[in-house]
């Protein structure tokens, strides 16, 4: 595996200015994604995974605001680039994203094939005729049967699983270096989930691109990812290789997550006590401390620093500082 860092998020802070107050959604997130790796970002709903994804493409809009931080892509800070440059150079070309509800993510009044062709025409130089042909080739690549038919249909005429493949075809059409997949299989039938993930993995490996897979499902992560980051309430609490995280979780939250996955021999469901905090008024210090069995006085006062435990395995917890 190549060790070169493709994307680095440094100290990202994002707030949402809402009617209820200021939601401190992202609290200083640090993350590295390497070239050619399948990186999983895990966490419960509302922990900030999707917001982070939007930030990478600088698509955080009102009422959200990126307050500070850098997002370095191949060494250049995306957040300091102007909009035109991001739009022309990064979006659709270098970094793309697929999302949770594929049918909703497609324009209902445009044919499927034309939507893929649009991505091609925007991001690569080719003629309209060639783009249409290429769109059908891409549909074949994602294992869609009768690609000509699907290309001439509209999004409401195809199933969720097929729509997600269309999205994948669209988002891989310009051969990006990084594909962000935000809960791509959560809304699909379980049987389709595995197919789509396998397809994704195969395509990415062929192109030697990176994937940032966002999910709340640990089993998906275990199946597909090389490295994993665990997020809680706007913080990244642990990052490591997938077997490190699964077999030797360090952070109390990660341990809770692993424990909570129902396994065949377990007799009871073990949850994590307490509730996800309201980010308008988050807990001081370490945001997990109200639910943590190991909470100490310092956890309530200061934010823990990130410590590297072993190669590529980092934790953000006072237990290890």
């Amino acid at each position: 595996m190549v060790d070169e860092v493709l994307l680095e998020i440094k100290n990202l802070v994002i707030n949402f200015y809402t009617y209820r107050g200021i939601v401190r959604a992202i609290n200083g997130v640090n993350l590295k994604i390497k070239k050619g790796e399948f990186f999983g970002l895990v966490g419960e709903t509302g922990c900030g995974k999707s917001v982070t994804a939007s930030a990478i493409l600088n698509l955080v809009r009102n009422p959200g605001k990126i307050e500070e931080g850098e997002i370095l892509f191949r060494g250049r800070d995306i957040l300091s680039m102007n909009e035109n440059e991001i739009r022309d150079r990064i979006r659709g070309k270098e970094i793309t994203m697929i999302m949770q509800h594929p049918v909703a993510a497609l324009n209902p009044v445009v044919k499927n094939g034309d939507q893929i062709a649009e991505a091609l025409l925007t991001n690569k130089k080719m003629s309209k005729v060639r783009a249409k042909k290429r769109a059908i080739e891409l549909l074949k690549d994602v294992n869609i049967p009768e690609p000509e038919k699907v290309a001439s249909q509209y999004p409401h005429q195809i199933s969720g699983g097929m729509a997600q493949r269309v999205m994948i075809a669209m988002m891989l059409s310009a051969e990006p270096s990084l594909l962000i997949a935000d809960e791509p299989t959560t809304a699909l039938d379980v049987s389709i989930q595995a197919q789509v993930l396998r397809l994704l993995k195969g395509l990415i490996e062929k192109r030697k691109a990176s994937v940032l897979l966002i999910t709340h499902d640990l089993s998906v992560v275990a199946e597909t990812c090389d490295r994993v980051g665990v997020m809680y309430a706007g913080d990244v609490v642990e990052v490591g290789e997938v077997n490190q995280i699964i077999n030797d979780p360090k952070h109390p939250y990660t341990r809770g997550l692993i424990r909570a996955v129902p396994a065949g021999y377990k007799k009871e469901l073990v949850g994590i006590q307490g509730n996800v905090p309201d980010l308008v008024d988050p807990p001081l210090g370490c945001r997990f401390h109200p639910r943590c069995d190991h909470a100490r006085k310092v956890c309530k006062e200061k934010k823990p620093k990130t410590v590297e435990m072993e190669r590529d395995h980092t934790v953000t917890c006072f237990l290890y500082e």
């Binding site: 493409l57 698509l59 739009r87 022309d88 990064i90 979006r91 659709g92 070309k93 793309t96 994203m97 999302m99 509800h101 909703a104 993510a105 497609l106 324009n107 209902p108 009044v109 445009v110 649009e118 991505a119 925007t122 991001n123 249909q153 509209y154 409401h156 005429q157 999205m167 669209m170 988002m171």
Partner: protein, 336 residues
């Protein structure tokens, strides 16, 4: 197979509605306290004459036979003679309807272009100054009583600024162009009479601006809210992720979808404009179908009432039908 079914259902509905409209008009006309015989021969005519006229008008027949006579008349587009104008009602309608049509078309052009344009701008620049101004103005627009706005326009544009003329379709002394469509502006252009064109256009301005302003407000609001709803959809995000320019995102992705309810609104607007023409033509003294129908009501001119109401209701139902069909055609989710 969905679309033909959709069309068929709408057409059947249309026919049922027209039938119902005509029937209701019949019953209404029998409730209106008019004295059709007395209107023809005066109130003190001798009894035999009264009975003779009654027989002629078919008033001595039982109700259901009168109804059949009435329906037969309608199918042949024969409403009898207007007491006020002493002409065939159908001839009156032929004279006045094109005038209203011309007015409505002009008002529609104004309303559609301004309304859609301002609506899109408002949605894109949400909550900023242009949006706030347009929202307040369009709220005022739909709250405005049309007859009052008309009077204001007359006072300001006619009396103080002299921009619009006194009334009617053409100035006294100007001859109407040779009839092709009945629309003076179009006909004068076809005949090459540019002076007449300007005069006709001039006379249309006042009422068209009043109707146009109010309708712009409606269309602007629908466009704005439709755009806002669409701009929050997932596929807009997809379009941005693909790296498309903002203008393409707004026009090709957002508006293409927002347009569906907007175009439906535009279709329905024809009906609203027809309704608005009633008050506006009266205020401006514009000789169209609206003013004709008001005068018919006020003078209890039964035949004219039936004729104008039937025509208006048919146009209204037709514009709703066309709007519905358009909606079905534009939305692939219905078409396929």
């Amino acid at each position: 197979m969905a679309f033909p079914g959709y069309v068929a259902k709408r057409l059947v509905l249309f026919i049922v509605v027209i039938f119902g409209v005509v029937t209701i008009t019949f019953f209404l006309s029998h409730v209106i306290p008019a004295d059709p015989v007395g209107a023809i021969i005066g109130e003190n005519a001798p009894q035999e004459l009264v009975e003779k006229i009654e027989k002629q008008l078919g008033l001595d027949l039982p109700l259901h036979q009168q109804y059949l006579r009435y329906m037969k008349g309608i199918v042949h587009w024969d409403f009898g003679i207007s007491l006020r104008t002493q002409k065939q009602v159908s001839a009156d309608l032929k004279t006045y309807f094109p005038a209203t049509l011309e007015l409505i078309i002009l008002a529609m052009l104004i309303a559609a272009t301004c309304g859609i344009g301002i609506g899109i701008l408002s949605a894109v620049k949400r909550n900023k100054l242009p949006d706030s101004i347009s929202r307040i103005l369009s709220l005022i627009g739909i709250s405005m009583p049309a007859f009052w706005l008309g009077l204001l326009f007359i006072m300001i544009l006619y009396y103080h600024l002299g921009i619009i003329p006194a009334g009617g379709r053409l100035s006294p002394g100007v001859l109407s162009p040779p009839t092709v469509t009945g629309l003076y502006t179009l006909d004068s252009l076809i005949a090459g009479e540019f002076g007449t064109f300007w005069d006709a256009f001039h006379h249309l301005l006042g009422p068209a601006l009043v109707l146009g302003w109010i309708q712009t407000a409606y269309i602007c609001r629908v466009t704005r809210s439709s755009m806002l709803e669409v701009l929050n959809e997932e596929y807009i995000r997809t379009a941005r992720i693909k790296g498309l320019r903002e203008r393409i995102v707004i026009l090709r992705h957002a508006f293409r979808n927002a347009a569906i309810p907007v175009i439906t609104m535009v279709g329905i607007s024809f009906g609203y404009l027809l309704e608005g023409s009633v008050l506006t033509e009266t205020v401006f003294g514009y000789p169209g179908l609206g003013r004709y129908s008001v005068n018919s009501f006020l003078s209890l001119d039964l035949n004219a009432v039936i004729g104008s109401v039937t025509l208006i209701a048919i146009c209204y139902a037709l514009s709703n039908l066309i709007a519905d069909l358009f909606y079905g055609f534009l939305d692939p989710r219905i078409r396929y």
